[in-house]
Symmetry: C2
Subunit: 305 residues, 2 copies
């Protein structure tokens, strides 16, 4: 079985919370590594609600410094401290967030029990900001009223699995295994060639997830996320409010669908809904008219990649 | 009927929210004037949950700058702005909060649609910080790890109501009415004396509410709130954790009861419970052992004064 690669929606509202919706926050679980993406007010409450042990989060990615995307961070940092965290926490954010946090720590006379490492995002150029043996995270340059980055999480190619039956049958020498698993053909001392494709099992494509919020409609975003398996794209308004979307540097549901179609993604999830909407079905229908494989972000929903 | 004087509990947890409890926030309604006392993370969510129109809040009192008492403020200020507020908002707080808010407004490139007036509290001396025709608010000097003020809301004495039957019967001259209502005796031109007590109806005592959180046990607090009708006093721990209470500058439930008894208050409400407690009954029982007229703060509970 494949390891986990799943996104849990903690908040789907834009601007302000409502009685049913929280501001933006998501948890990405990649093989039990936990990444928090944005941290709107109440994110720690949502983490508790969905029984996610938040001390397991070691990396927090903040897209931009509008309150509905980061106001829950100070509380989460503080709770991690009060509940005894010792492990380093890495926070990725456009410039300014460290200053906001540090002044609050100073005024409350708090010295955290654990180190925080701040990584300042460059809002002008996509950069690889995180990398481990399984995964890389690259920023996506978004187009909003203030500096704003999306995040592209991409699984690395793994070694292929050997087709043990055929290996045994054809007596492939052990010293060829690593080449075959790496996708390379192997030539033994006699000059016989073993093709990787013949001795390995078909592998699924590496999984990937792109988070794009907040942003106005921008085809450059589509270029950066071409072929991604799962795309979360903001869809603050219905297209009838295009004027309002343009004025506030947000996207409509139709525009989110166009981005998904242009980028040929596997699946689209829309969210960051204006508080004016109680029923999200019209937003879903509008995005689907451009890109049928679309779903709606709702608190507690889990999307498997 | 008497006008409203009631406290709604929006949050009763200390330090961090739990899945059932929010950090400190309360709404005081005095004759449809709305005062917010502390504003922990998620206060705006709680205001919505209890259908309190938060644009009606014109005064916010912040006791101190530990996150569990103010982290919901930035979101509330921001939502008031996004939802079109024009009216002035007055915020009372120890030094530092304006700096915390201003830097966040600056970094998010937000210019509020409405004026905020900041009133810096003096944490060393009780002061009258608010006054209108019905009510005064005086700070209470608390004893915590950082500068911290409680708040004493006290109804002003109103004019007495005339006993119309007796006024008519004894033909009291109209020019004496104001003196009688003010509690003064009146002498008419012939020298006849009309005693206020004989021509007015008995009046209930002015109502009052004291908010005392966070604080270690301190008899000086009792002096400042002597005779108050309703007292909210923090009771973070059971008395078996007195060491912990002293170390963190908090009170035990027993100590809260002693303060209520010493100050001879009408009724005590305890709150600000440590997240270690799931069942608050032992805390209630402990406070009651000192002061029987005690109740527990719980989200959504309304206490009439």
């Amino acid at each position: 079985m494949s390891s986990r690669f799943e996104v849990t929606i903690l908040g789907s509202s834009s601007a302000t919370p409502t009685s049913r919706r929280f501001p933006t926050a998501q948890l990405l679980n990649v093989s039990e590594r936990f990444f928090l993406i944005d941290c709107g007010e109440g994110a720690q409450i949502q983490l508790r609600r969905y029984k996610i042990r938040f001390q397991r989060i070691n990396h927090i990615f903040i897209s931009h410094l509008h309150g509905d995307h980061y106001l829950g961070l100070m509380g989460l940092i503080s709770s991690m401290h009060l509940l005894g965290r010792k492990k380093e926490l890495v926070i990725y954010s456009p410039k300014g967030l460290q200053e906001i946090v540090d002044i609050q720590l100073k005024i409350s006379a708090t010295v955290l029990n654990y180190p925080v490492k701040w990584v300042e995002l460059n809002p002008d150029v996509p950069e690889v900001i995180y990398e481990d043996s399984q995964l890389s995270v690259t920023t996506i340059i978004l187009n909003h009223r203030i500096p704003c980055c999306g995040f592209l999480f991409r699984e690395k190619k793994k070694l292929l699995s050997l087709d043990k039956a055929r290996i045994t049958e054809d007596k492939v020498p052990v010293e060829g295994f690593f080449s075959l698993k790496s996708g390379l053909d192997f030539k033994d001392q006699s000059g016989r060639i073993f093709r990787s494709v013949d001795y390995t099992l078909p592998q699924s494509q590496p999984r990937s997830y792109a988070f794009c919020s907040d942003t106005r409609f921008d085809p450059k975003v589509a270029e950066q996320i071409a072929g991604v398996k799962l795309l979360y794209h903001e869809a603050t308004f219905l297209h009838e409010l295009l004027d309002r979307a343009e004025k506030t540097a947000h996207s409509t549901a139709k525009e989110a669908g166009i981005i998904a179609k242009t980028a040929e993604v596997g699946k689209l999830v829309i969210g960051h809904f204006s508080v004016r909407y109680n029923d999200m079905e019209p937003l879903l229908a509008e995005a689907k008219s451009e890109f049928p494989e679309t779903d709606i972000a709702e608190e507690g929903k889990v999307f498997q990649v």
